[in-house]
Symmetry: C2
Subunit: 342 residues, 2 copies
Amino acid sequence: MDRPPPRPTLHDVAARAGVSIATVSRVLNGSSPTRPETEARVRAAIRGLGFRPNRTGRELRVGQSHTVGVLLPSLSNPIFADSVSGIQDAARAEGWSVLIASSRYDAGREHEAVEGLLSHRVGGLILTVAEADASPTLDALDAEGLRYVLLYNQPTRPDRAFVSIDNVAAGRDAARALVAQGHRRLGMVAGRFDASDRSRLRHAGFAAALAEAGLPPGQVLEIGFDDSAATDALRAALARPDRPTGLFCSTDLLALRSIAVLRDLGLRVPCDVSVIGLDGIAVGALTAPSLASIAQPAHEMGRRAFHHLLRCVGADAPAEHILLPHRLRPGSSLGAAPPSQE
Amino acid sequence: MDRPPPRPTLHDVAARAGVSIATVSRVLNGSSPTRPETEARVRAAIRGLGFRPNRTGRELRVGQSHTVGVLLPSLSNPIFADSVSGIQDAARAEGWSVLIASSRYDAGREHEAVEGLLSHRVGGLILTVAEADASPTLDALDAEGLRYVLLYNQPTRPDRAFVSIDNVAAGRDAARALVAQGHRRLGMVAGRFDASDRSRLRHAGFAAALAEAGLPPGQVLEIGFDDSAATDALRAALARPDRPTGLFCSTDLLALRSIAVLRDLGLRVPCDVSVIGLDGIAVGALTAPSLASIAQPAHEMGRRAFHHLLRCVGADAPAEHILLPHRLRPGSSLGAAPPSQE
DNA sequence: TTGTACGCGTTATCAT
DNA sequence: ATGATAACGCGTACAA
């Protein structure tokens, strides 16, 4: 087997162009003026050799790479995958690369994964953590003065930059949509509060809307994300005769699972139970019934997170709190409340 | 604003432990034996300083990073996102990192993205390209002797390593499943052949199964992936009275879209038209009707691709062709053919 | 067993 | 406007 021929370096380009490596570097980065003629010779040499600058050398020199580290709970949920697309698009446009890791909603893995990303001396991080207000991982980043932007998280402390929707308002709007359809017995299926501050905030909004409407607090079912035992819990809760007629699920994936369980129980959506989700993932629009949802602009959120990060890396920009608008995506899973049987 | 304090280096550790940087390096990599006592002192210093080796320095030295570059058409399709999870799991276990890029099914972007990944001197690549048998991008990789493993692609040339299912067999099995239900007017919705060799192979299997069953060649609708005009084409094709009663879609996402279109046209699945997809994405099991599908072991495929890559990087292992088994995932979208009306 | 010293490819400083 | 050269953090011959 033949060994891979080494890629050309600055030296090769310099030799071929008859200049020094410093000049080649200057042409590449435009760091100081060069004579048009020499620049042309250098560019010709670059093209001729198929030279591509070695980022590793550059990174070692400047102490930081044009790479963003991304940590998300999972890629299986399209809401996260879509935001990665947004990050990629923005990064590509700026010549940055994307290093990715997943935590599986596990705080231990969070820390480990961030350490892995940091060992690459990434220029910054974009992360979604379990708990943005009390996170040892984020504390460590703060202590080292490393730049990061939270995505989807919505901490209350003002020193942490984030890009999110207003989760409380989103939860409130979801509940209001159900109330507007005449539902008075509302329930919520929520991702585990200790694994998701979003879930907690969405519930707060949900509860507030109920109070505002003069309704009793709804049933809340806290549920694991990847757990199949969760389906049993769902089934048990929805089989009860006092089940809600209007159900808010803190994510679309939970909403689709809930609808499947309801169907399995012989209940019709939305005739017997109305369901509204939160995320606005694309498949939700393809199902029957189509899934009503509070939609997040996932792709745009990824883009914004990256741009905000760039701003932080360049100058020490203050930690911005970016709240993007959510919107109600209508769907046939949301219908009028059945006539009261109380 | 305070600047981030520099991370400790080998020198700092060495100074603290009262040894040379060479010794520290040896302790870190176990590259040559060290006295237990000095090793203990070094480890204490490492812990005391919170030292993490700088991968950039290491990479520059050894000329290659423990990072795998991943290029996929998109992350929006769970079939790709799931394989990334598999890659991540395998990579993490080996202390490797994952650099990711998307091509959006665009050959131009493919090349650009690979160049970006290569500028990091990644240890190897895992990619899904449009056309694995005739790809300038892959030709370039071959010419430079860079290690890569194709994922989902199934080239016919023997020199390119890949991890895939047997796409022809999968297409055949999908068609057979429809035939077994008594369908005699079959059709296929296929991703654009020029953007996906998989799609072409699956069609070949589909066509073979039809011939084998003594049926006329089915209608084939070639369709773009992210195109909304594609929905119009779908609608037009399915509105015709001579539409198939059994429909095979080359991906689950296309299948879900097709079912939505059929529903929109007032047709029932599976009563009027049966649908079977290919991929086996999780949401397909949640919809109504549930989606029958030829399932790929996406997570496992990602894992295997990484492990095969590692083997290639270590020694010059021969290009393996790994075909993983697909399986029929039953679903209510697949039913008996309606009584013949001919 | 441990230390010294060089070089990986790049940027940036200082001369010229 | 350009060239020589010193780092950046690490791995590893080579010496001791």
